[in-house]
């Protein structure tokens, strides 16, 4: 059970991130999570949105290069040690985390959400589920 993350190439120039978010906003695409990774020369923006099809169409029309990457949306108990518990499960299952970032939040006050990009998605899903940790799917994201 994975989410479709949209990864967008951004030229390292003032205003490019804003140009992208403007294009999405003007076309009614709602962003649920966003993370920016950059080198001194270029950047990659990672997005979780409500409607992947609409978002990729908007990006293509606006001339942004992008790709889709499967990631995991993990519900983390909003209590001390919550994130640590998730990482421990992944560590024990020998799943390598490439990167992770926070979700912009949802209606559920008892949980936080985080996005994980892991090398072995199936192993991660199995290990987390076995420990009673919930993963969210694309439909749930749209409804959050």
């Amino acid at each position: 059970m994975s989410l479709k993350q949209i990864s967008v190439f951004l030229e390292n120039k003032p205003g490019t991130l804003h140009a992208m978010t403007t294009a999405l906003a003007q076309n009614g695409v709602d962003m649920r999570a966003l993370s920016l990774a950059e080198t001194k020369d270029f950047g990659i923006v990672r997005l979780i949105v409500d409607n992947v099809y609409d978002a990729t169409t908007v990006l293509k029309d606006a001339g942004f290069i992008h790709s889709l990457t499967p990631v995991l949306g993990v519900m983390i108990p909003d209590e001390p040690g919550g994130l640590n518990q998730v990482l421990q499960v992944l560590n024990e299952a020998a799943v390598n985390v490439e990167y992770m970032y926070a979700f912009l939040g949802g209606a559920d006050a008892d949980h936080a959400y985080m996005i994980f990009r892991v090398q072995d998605g199936e192993a991660a899903t199995a290990a987390l589920t076995a420990h009673g940790i919930r993963l969210v799917d694309q439909d749930e994201v749209a409804g959050l």
Binding site: Q5, S7, F9, L10, E11, N12, T16, A37, E38, T39, D41, F42, I44, R46, G63, F64, I65, H66, S67, T69, E98, R117
Partner: protein, 433 residues
Amino acid sequence: MERYYQPEIECASREQILAWQNERLVKQVQHVWDNVPYYRKKMEAKGLTPADIKGVDDLHKLPFLSKADLREAYPYGLVGMPLKDCVRIQSTSGTTGKRVVAFYTQHDIDLWEDCCARAIVAAGGTNEDVCQVSYGYGLFTGGPGLNGGSHKVGCLTIPTSSGNTERQIMFIRDLNATILCCTPSYAAYIGETMRDMGLTPDQIPLKAGIFGAEAWSEEMRQDIQNTLGIKAYDIYGLTELSGPGVSFECSAQSGMHINEDHFIAEIIDPDTGEVLPEGSQGELVFTSITKEAFPLLRYRTRDICSLSREKCPCGRTHVKMVKPKGRTDDMLIIRGVNVFPSQIETVLLNYGYPANYQIIVDRVKSTDTLDVHVEMTPEMFTDNLGEVSRRQDELVDGLRSMLGLAAKVTLVAPKSIVRSEGKAVRVIDRRKI
């Protein structure tokens, strides 16, 4: 089967070609002596009279003409016919200083169009073909030259001129154009636009392209051939000598046959002016032996290339010149190293990047910097930052081994480098020297 426009000339024996050259050179030197005082003075300064030039073997005795001479003699100083006998001028934008203005009699235009017709037939053109000329029309020689050649072959000619790419594509598709003539960078752009429209090569009626007026690499040829599903032929020329058609590629696609019945080619050492032995690389020099209105003798082109007399499988006997690496004008000197934009293009295409690029040269604290802007493509993009950086580094290494010089690579957004409809602007030199 190979077809020729003028088989008796294009496949003539070496002896015949040499006989034409000897006879026409002697006549041309007399014509210039009688009608072009600017050049006569140059001959006199070397103690020469027309009697000293008995044939091609004496060519090396004649003084050179250079772009500087054209500037000095502007506009009429090198004209060899009374203006009442001239019917046209063509002109090229000098990258430095004054424009070049070349003159033509009707006879000159006729011979020039023959040369272009030879190129079209060598690319497989017949009177069954529909030839779209997307070179600029007007002062630039590309449009008028190929237009005239296309008429001579009897192709249905579509004179779209350059620009308005959607209209170009509409005509190619609606009128089933089979031959496209334009600059290679514009051909690449037309191909890219068609691909973005979702057209595959088999949906494009074109079968051949004749592309010239700028230096382009072998890799760019492959790229254009693949996107448009055509065979792409090179054509070479200079406004000073007539325009496109001084030389052209045949089915062998390995060098351009020089129309030796109109032009005598030499390769010289650009520093000493000495004629180099056959096969050497050096500066290309042309002597125009049939032009009446603008008869240039030993004109230095500043193009660096070599000549080959190896037998060509196409059956043509005229000498071939290899694709010039670039004009000495296009050559950049960066930290003392000679760099041709076409070398950078080769590296980009080898690593899977598009041939659309821009080279930015600057000087920071008295050191030259070379920054190559390359457009990111969907194929080259991945979510993995390290992987994108690795590909960028790979390109930096590739450039270093090709140029012997460290270059910076900047990945830019797709379509952010301005597309050209004529000659591409490849180099931005910000150095203030």
